[in-house]
């Protein structure tokens, strides 16, 4: 690939960052494609900010290389990198007006005055702050300040825009509005966005791909659907949404299907899996989303297309838009099924707590993780 077509790519190659003895980022490999919206998602302290700061240049990797737009930028200082950042605290210059804030990047690059003026106006229009140019940041609401911070970054037409939890200081309603705003901006600018968040909803609704991080490592990189439907590790399964987790041991299988023995004593076939590490004897966790779990009277599940287990309905909980049934399996482990309530009828029919039931799921909807 020539340099031109690589504009907007980011590539982290075995990047490690240590602070003293503590490893903040551990041998991370990440290939960001040009123009994509990628999220770094993970709990507090997992190394998201540190990863982002190695791309912006404010942290030097202890090991590994950082490539931006096809060039090795590891040793390039921040002010010479072709990336711009939106800071969590916005970091607006309080002594400058909104227009001066937005113009800052072009000013230090010594662009001519008419160009600067034109582009500032265009960019303020883009973030819908056309009439706010002469105000000071202190006179704006949180959401408006957020958009100034965005404008100030994107006016420089960076190859990559880095955003560190930009929405976390906003209240819920504004946060939802800004999610849409950011997505629109991404579409309009066709710029690579690297977005850091600990909010799974944010990541799932906005991203093309998500990198789920924990303790300095990327556990899984994939589309929101991948991450949600086919979690690669136990951590990912647990971190994103609600999930049932059943301890199990691999007892057999071939390239396309794996047979496991649950702690409840049930044997199940999971297909297709195709992970060569799942050899007999390995302990695994079977994960399945509550929305995928069927809950029927005994014998109500077609065992041809479904995995099925026997249990006892322990509890039914009406949640307004859905109902949640908890089933106890033979050894006491619990499995949760959630079903949407439709036009007032009970989604689980006449089942009552204490009934013997079958629970199951379509083959392929459950995942084995380690």
């Amino acid at each position: 690939m020539d340099q031109h077509s690589q504009r907007g790519t980011v590539s982290l190659r075995k990047v490690t960052k240590r602070f003293g003895d503590a490893v903040a980022v551990n041998a991370v490999n990440l290939e960001v494609e040009a123009g994509e919206f990628i999220s770094l998602l993970g709990p507090s302290g997992c190394g998201k900010t540190t990863t982002l700061r190695m791309i912006s240049g404010f942290e030097l990797p202890t090991e590994g290389r950082v490539h931006i737009s096809g060039r090795d930028a590891t040793d390039t200082p921040p002010h010479l990198r072709t990336v711009n950042s939106v800071f969590q605290s916005y970091a607006l210059f309080g002594h400058m007006t909104v227009a001066e804030n937005v113009a800052f990047g072009l000013r230090v690059k010594r662009r001519d005055k008419p160009t600067i003026e034109r582009k500032v106006q265009e960019t303020l229009d883009l973030v819908q702050l056309s009439d706010f140019g002469s105000r000071f940041p202190g006179q704006l609401s949180g959401g408006q300040q957020q958009r100034v911070a965005l404008a100030r970054a994107v006016i420089n037409e960076p190859d990559v825009l880095l955003l560190d939890e930009p929405l976390s200081a906003l209240d819920l309603k504004l946060r939802q509005a800004m999610r849409y705003e950011l997505t629109r901006l991404h579409d309009e600018l066709a710029m690579t966005f690297v977005f850091v968040t600990h909010d799974q909803t944010e990541a799932i609704t906005m991203s093309d791909r998500i990198a789920v991080m924990d303790q300095g490592e990327i556990h899984q990189l994939g589309t929101p659907v991948d991450i949600y439907e086919r979690p690669a590790t136990r951590f990912v399964a647990e971190f994103i949404g609600e999930v049932n987790m059943l301890e199990a041991t691999v007892v057999g299988g071939d390239g396309t299907r794996t047979e496991v023995l649950l702690s409840s004593g049930d044997r199940l076939t999971c297909a297709p899996v195709g992970d060569s590490r799942l050899t007999p004897g390995v302990s695994v966790v079977l994960t399945v989303r509550p929305q995928r779990v069927l809950l029927t009277p005994e014998g109500g599940i077609d065992s041809q297309e479904h995995a099925s287990l026997r249990g006892e309905l322990r509890e039914l909980l009406f949640l307004g838009d859905s109902t949640r049934g908890t089933v106890g399996l033979a050894d006491g482990t619990e499995l949760v099924a959630v079903r949407h309530n439709e036009d007032g009828t009970h989604p689980f029919g006449t089942l009552r707590p204490g009934d013997r039931v079958d629970v199951g799921w379509r083959h392929g909807t459950a995942c084995l993780v380690q």
Binding site: P77, S85, A91, L92, F93, F104, G105, N156
Partner: protein, 313 residues
Amino acid sequence: MIRRRPSRRFANLAIGSASVLVYVFFYVPVAVLVLFSFNQARTGGRWGGFTTEWYSALFDNDRLITAAQNSLLIAVVATAVAVVLGTMLSLAIDRRTFRGRTAAQQVVYLPVIAPEIVTGVALLAFFSLTLGRLNDLLGRGAQDALRMGRPTIIIAHVAFCTAFVALVVRSSLRTLDPSLEEAAQDLGANAWTTFWRVTLPSIMPGVLGGALLAFTLSLDNFVITFFVSGPGATTLPIEVFGQLRRTISPEVNAISTLIFGASTLLLVGALVVQSTVSRQRSQRIRPLSRQPRNRAAQARATQATHTQLEGQP
């Protein structure tokens, strides 16, 4: 509840009268001073009619005038140097990491805490030593020897003023969001541009405050100056003290009134500048939990915003 009320009233009364007393203790003597600078009677506590004679006499009192010029010159030079040094010092000990940084942070305020007499004696010892050596080295005799005077006073004032400037600038550096400087770099500014365009303007209120403090302290410093001034150069406080020892001169009242007026003007000017700046920049980034809950609070907040904006073009 009922039994508490009188005690609270008593507390309010105590606080109130204490505050009034503070103002009385400070401003009554000043008022007397101002009044007496226009008093025709030369001595004693009686009022002999209004006059501006002392003010005109002032301009014939060469020693006072020279001392005042000296004081101003010293204050201006010392402030200028101290502001630069003090700001650089704060940046160094707060923004750089180096061995002994904590120690440097601790000892920077020593000149602020140390009794002036100690600083004065120390500087005296230091200057006699260095000037003696310098005179030996240059082969100067009793006639043309280098003596203490304006330069030594300036050096001494720079020394303690720098500490005060650092004190004030550091407090504004500490409240400065470090991501501001990162944002500037992120937008393409090198270290130099970042300092001039972002860091310095952000800490400017602190720098100006420090300058004001340094100027005032230099202008009215007595103890340290007393030790390091020579026969060639005195400052106004020392000259005033000297003249008062000889006679009670109403000209001293006049010049003190002028100085008081000038410093009041300076202070008012600084307050006006600061309040204009802070009104422009008023940070309304509120944490979520502190956002107005009810309608009334919200309405008040909106109104406040409007009032705030009316001043804007």
